[in-house]
């Protein structure tokens, strides 16, 4: 850990110690899929810590382990000095999907958290009403979740977590299911309550893939790298609350984080950057993100237009397109993989091929897309080669997915196949019949 930062920080006692945690899921076929590798992290009192990373970086897995919902295969967690073996008293969780019981009223949903603690009925009621008031939902006690808007539902989620007076509040992308405005209101309210010390808790651990959200709320940001998930960077945010998104220091920190997450020379990020080099080294076994060709074309067009004119700052274009990194990064990296663009240090630059694509008509675009695919995406090249070589010019889905499953999880293999099929179909490299699950070279009549 960064001892320097610890020494400077206004921290309290250590609440949670995570040492050498490792998590993997068995694939059935022998070699397991490594999700988290050697995670070391200390949580202290009185801080908001953000876990930031793209989807699949294992940050949610880590949160589930801390919540006691999953057990790591190796390593140790100590909560207030005691090993964690299941959900612990003093840790409460807020879910991305709110996770409210639809058949219980707001009050009942909040009260239920107190039942297992053996709190008497009268006290359950008064504490729940107080929590509902605190979070700004008074008057809605007898409403059912379906009667509430998304933002109000998440407020119930907060009230249910706060009513047990936890020391640590875990939040799994709590605002990502909400619209932009609602999310911002809820964030601001939460930070305000935190600043005024009205929340009955000591620390917050927040999982997010929204860089601005992390900078807005957190005292410490842990950046995750993927494949396998591990901690790449730790950044301390010293800005005073309330933080202003327009402030230069704020913007610079956001820029800095984008840069760190797309730094091609960072050895820790090597595995997750599907650069043409890594394509060459990994060959067919390289995973693809299933992104639609419409979005790829759209991003290239957006890049070519003013004000970007072929080169854009990732935070700016993310803002422009209203995308979070879990949407933007797979797009940008797919473009980079096909050499339509290059991503480095928080910037994305359209390549010559990319410019030709944007300028071309529909047929040119398809031809160009096909050429780049065959040249730079090994699995698509393989499918096309097998189809060309076989006398029948057909091949089953399993022929390729099984080869992928040797090196990746089944889900990831399916996603990679999805991407290969959708890209290949767009480029008219081959056709695919969903019913018989077979590739062929025929054009559908």
């Amino acid at each position: 850990m960064t001892d320097l930062a610890v020494a400077e920080a206004p921290t309290g006692r250590s609440l949670l110690e995570i040492s050498h945690v490792r998590q993997s899921y068995s694939k059935g076929s022998g070699n397991d899929l490594l999700v988290l590798e050697d995670i070391n992290l200390d949580l202290r009192g009185n801080e908001i810590v953000g876990l930031l990373g793209r989807s699949g970086s294992g940050k949610s897995s880590l949160l589930r382990i801390i919540a006691g919902l999953a057990r790591p295969v190796a390593g140790e967690l100590r909560w207030r000095g005691r090993p964690v073996t299941g959900p612990s008293q003093g840790i409460a969780m807020v879910f991305q999907s709110f996770a409210l019981f639809p058949w219980l009223t707001v009050l009942e949903n909040v009260e239920i958290g107190l039942e297992p603690l053996g709190v008497p009925a009268a006290e359950r009621r008064s504490r729940s009403v107080a929590a509902i008031d605190l979070i700004g939902l008074d008057g809605y006690e007898s409403a059912y979740p379906r009667e509430l808007s998304g933002g109000m539902r998440q407020r119930v989620g907060f009230a249910r977590a706060l009513v047990v007076h936890p020391e640590l509040l875990l939040m799994d992308e709590p605002f990502s299911a909400l619209d932009v405005l609602t999310a911002e209101t809820l964030r601001t309210d939460l930070v305000e309550l935190w600043q005024e010390k009205k929340l009955p808790l000591s620390s917050i651990l927040l999982v997010t893939h929204n860089i601005e959200e992390a900078v807005l709320m957190c005292d410490r940001i842990i950046i995750f790298a993927s494949n396998p998930g591990r901690i790449a960077h730790e950044i301390r945010v010293e800005l005073a609350h309330p933080r202003d998104r327009g402030e230069p220091a704020f913007r610079q920190l956001v820029d800095d984080i984008y840069g760190r997450m797309t730094n091609p020379s960072d050895p820790k990020l090597k595995a997750e950057q599907p650069t043409p080099d890594s394509a060459a080294s990994q060959g067919v076994g390289m995973g693809l993100a299933s992104v639609s060709t419409n979005l790829l074309a759209g991003l290239m067009e957006e890049l070519a237009k003013p004000p970007f004119n072929g080169r854009a700052d990732l935070p700016e274009i993310a803002d422009d397109l209203q995308m979070e990194i879990d949407e933007l990064f797979p797009l940008a990296e797919s473009l980079q993989l096909m050499r339509f663009a290059e991503v480095a240090h928080g910037d994305i630059t359209l390549s010559d091929a990319g410019r030709q694509f944007v300028d071309g008509d529909s047929d040119t675009r398809k031809r160009l897309f096909g050429r780049q695919l065959v040249a730079h995406v090994p699995i698509v090249a393989l499918i096309r080669r097998v189809l060309d070589e076989r006398p029948t010019h057909t091949a089953p889905y399993r022929r390729f997915s099984e080869q992928l499953e040797d090196v990746m999880s089944e889900d990831y293999a399916d996603e990679t196949m999805d991407a290969a099929i959708s890209w290949g179909r767009y480029a008219e490299l081959f056709s695919y019949d969903e019913q018989s699950r077979a590739f062929s070279l025929e054009n559908p009549e």
């Binding site: 919902l69 959900p87 969780m93 639809p102 958290g113 297992p116 059912y144």
Partner: protein, 582 residues
């Protein structure tokens, strides 16, 4: 309620993953266990058989009908309670234990292929022997028969719901440390409730059918007549009294109406609050005047509150704190070795059961007769197929025409559901009188009886499908001028196909079940018999010839399982994959 409950579709949809197309050794094993178990009950009961001393006399006076209707209704209620308890226990066990699941779920599949009448036939002597000379044994047998008409379907629904509990709600229950008991009542039962209630309502029709049968039945030299609408009809048939049958039909109709209005409609409307989709639903939610009354009336509320409080206390009992067993025990229990032991025990049991069945049946029946019985099964199969095709040709176009007109739908849908629930065997005598009068061939003209009750499933599912058909697609079709045959073939038929398959699966299952009753019909001393497996089972039961009942049941169960896997499952998978709207 105008639509098929989505959970019904979900249930079938999820099942396709675990359903194999070709029956495996595993299925054969389970099959042997079921048939063997039934044979053992029959053997055990048979040996200690005693005649029932005092059957209460049945009267044909219409004034006794209210009392009979009450008795019939109470039997039904008792069976529903039993089915629900069974469902909770069986479903929970199947979900919590992997090994139990491997046995319990195929077992359920086989159990639901066994005709209800065979359950009655096997178990009646057993229940009578439990309480020799008392009516109570016969009551239990009747209740058990109704139970077998409901429980499997409900259990499947519950199991499927438990398997699909939303992960976030499951996580939050763990995270709040609710404990298994509280979790069961706060999360699992409410989540399963809409599907469970809908399925219970659906299985009622089969249940009414068999409550009528089970009240007046003859097994060997034992004849049972329990006071109820069924035995009233039985006597009316024996005395050829059409007027009394009219009264019975009226009474039954009122009972079903009351059940629907007072029990199921309020339950369905109430279960609406347990659906998980948080977004507001399309269309009006199901309404029930009874539920509205209960929810508004202070008095009803006062009466209800104590029950609610007791339920609250019971479901809050803290059962947690069970210390996890030692690690080594857990390891040993979940090891490969333990699996092998488990499989070996199962295999031995299966082989033993198969051997008992073969020995029991083989004493009386030679290979030639086995082949003959399979031939009878073929005859019944042809009947079921032809009837489903005929019913589809009639009801699919009608259902579509009705379903596209909201007014008509509102009027027809409740009637179709009512007809599906009505025990159509009450109408049998009318048909028999017709066949005798016109000297028709029973082999052909008895067949429609099999589908008399279950054809309505096709109708109301098609109506539901047509009324759920997206309006924009209809408008698109008409704006592109799609008309005539191509409108049916390209627009409407694919649109309602998933609903149709759901209806046809239920109808065909019902038809197989009904064949045990419908292939052999009495009217006074006139007896009409259609050659088929159903009649074979019925006649063997009447003679108390258990080896042949076992043989007939095994063959029918085999036919039903194969029929489902060869025909319905592929169709359903196709519908679920290719023709879904969402």
């Amino acid at each position: 309620m105008a639509t098929v409950h989505p959970l019904l579709a979900v249930r079938l949809l999820d099942m396709r993953k675990s359903w194999r197309f070709v029956p495996s050794v595993w299925d054969a094993l389970i099959f042997a266990l079921v048939i063997g178990g039934l044979a053992l009950i029959a053997i055990g009961g048979h040996e200690t058989l005693q005649p029932l001393a005092h059957s209460p006399a049945i009267s044909l006076d219409p004034r006794v009908l209210p009392n009979y209707a009450l008795r019939t209704t109470l039997r039904m209620l008792a069976a529903i309670i039993c089915s629900t308890l069974f469902t909770f226990a069986y479903g929970a066990l199947a979900v919590k234990s992997r090994r139990a699941e491997q046995v319990l779920i195929p077992l359920l599949d086989i159990l639901q292929s066994v005709p209800v009448f065979s359950f009655l036939s096997f178990t009646i002597t057993f229940f009578l022997a439990l309480f020799p000379g008392q009516v109570f044994g016969a009551e239990l047998a009747s209740i058990f028969a109704i139970f077998t008409a409901q429980a499997w379907n409900m259990t499947f629904s519950f199991y499927q719901s438990l398997k699909t509990v939303p992960r976030d709600l499951s996580d939050v229950s763990d995270s709040l440390r609710l404990g298994p008991w509280r979790r069961f009542w706060v999360l699992e039962v409410p989540f399963a409730a809409p599907g469970l209630i809908w399925n219970a309502m659906m299985s009622m029709s089969g249940a009414w059918f068999f409550v009528v049968i089970s009240e007046a039945v003859t097994v060997g030299h034992v004849s049972i007549a329990l006071p109820g609408i069924g035995s009233y009809v039985g006597l009316a048939i024996a005395r050829q009294n059409l007027g009394a049958i009219g009264w019975a039909i009226l009474a039954m109709g009122l009972v079903i109406l009351a059940y629907d209005q007072l029990l199921f409609r309020p339950l369905v409307a109430w279960s609406e609050k347990f659906t998980v989709e948080l977004s507001s639903r399309q269309g009006a939610p199901p309404q029930s005047w009874v539920l509205n009354f209960i929810q508004r009336a202070q008095l009803a509320r006062r009466i209800w509150m104590p029950f609610a409080n007791v339920a609250g206390v019971l479901t809050r009992v803290h059962v947690g704190g069970v210390r996890p067993p030692p690690r080594r025990l857990v390891q040993a229990w979940s090891s490969r070795g333990a699996d092998y032991v488990w499989y070996t025990v199962l295999a031995l049991l299966g082989v033993w059961a198969a051997w008992r069945v073969v020995a029991f049946v083989g004493r009386e029946v030679g290979p030639a007769e086995v082949l003959a019985v399979i031939g009878l099964g073929g005859l019944t199969l042809v009947r079921v197929l032809v009837l489903i095709v005929l019913a589809s040709l009639i009801w699919v176009p009608i259902g579509i025409l009705v379903g596209l007109r909201p007014r008509w739908t509102q009027a027809v849908q409740p009637v179709a559901q009512f007809m599906a629930a009505f025990p159509n065997n009450l109408f049998f005598p009318v048909v028999v009188v017709g066949i005798v009068h016109f000297h028709l061939a029973p082999d052909v003209w008895l067949s429609p009886l099999m589908i008399l009750g279950t054809q309505w499933y096709i109708l109301f599912n098609v109506i539901a499908g047509a009324s759920a058909f997206p309006n924009d697609l209809r408008e698109a079709a008409s704006s592109f001028g799609v008309k005539g045959w191509s409108w049916w073939r390209k627009v409407m038929l694919p649109g309602i196909f998933p609903y149709y398959v759901t209806g046809a699966i239920t109808a065909s299952g019902g038809a197989w079940n009904a064949s045990t009753i419908a292939e052999l019909v009495n009217w006074g001393h006139t007896r009409l018999v259609a050659r088929g497996l159903g009649a074979f089972i019925f006649q063997s039961t009447e003679r108390g010839d258990f080896p042949r009942v076992v043989l007939g049941t095994a063959v029918m169960s085999l036919f039903v399982v194969l029929f489902n896997r060869v025909l319905w499952r592929p169709l359903f998978n196709y519908a679920a994959k290719r023709l879904r709207m969402d």
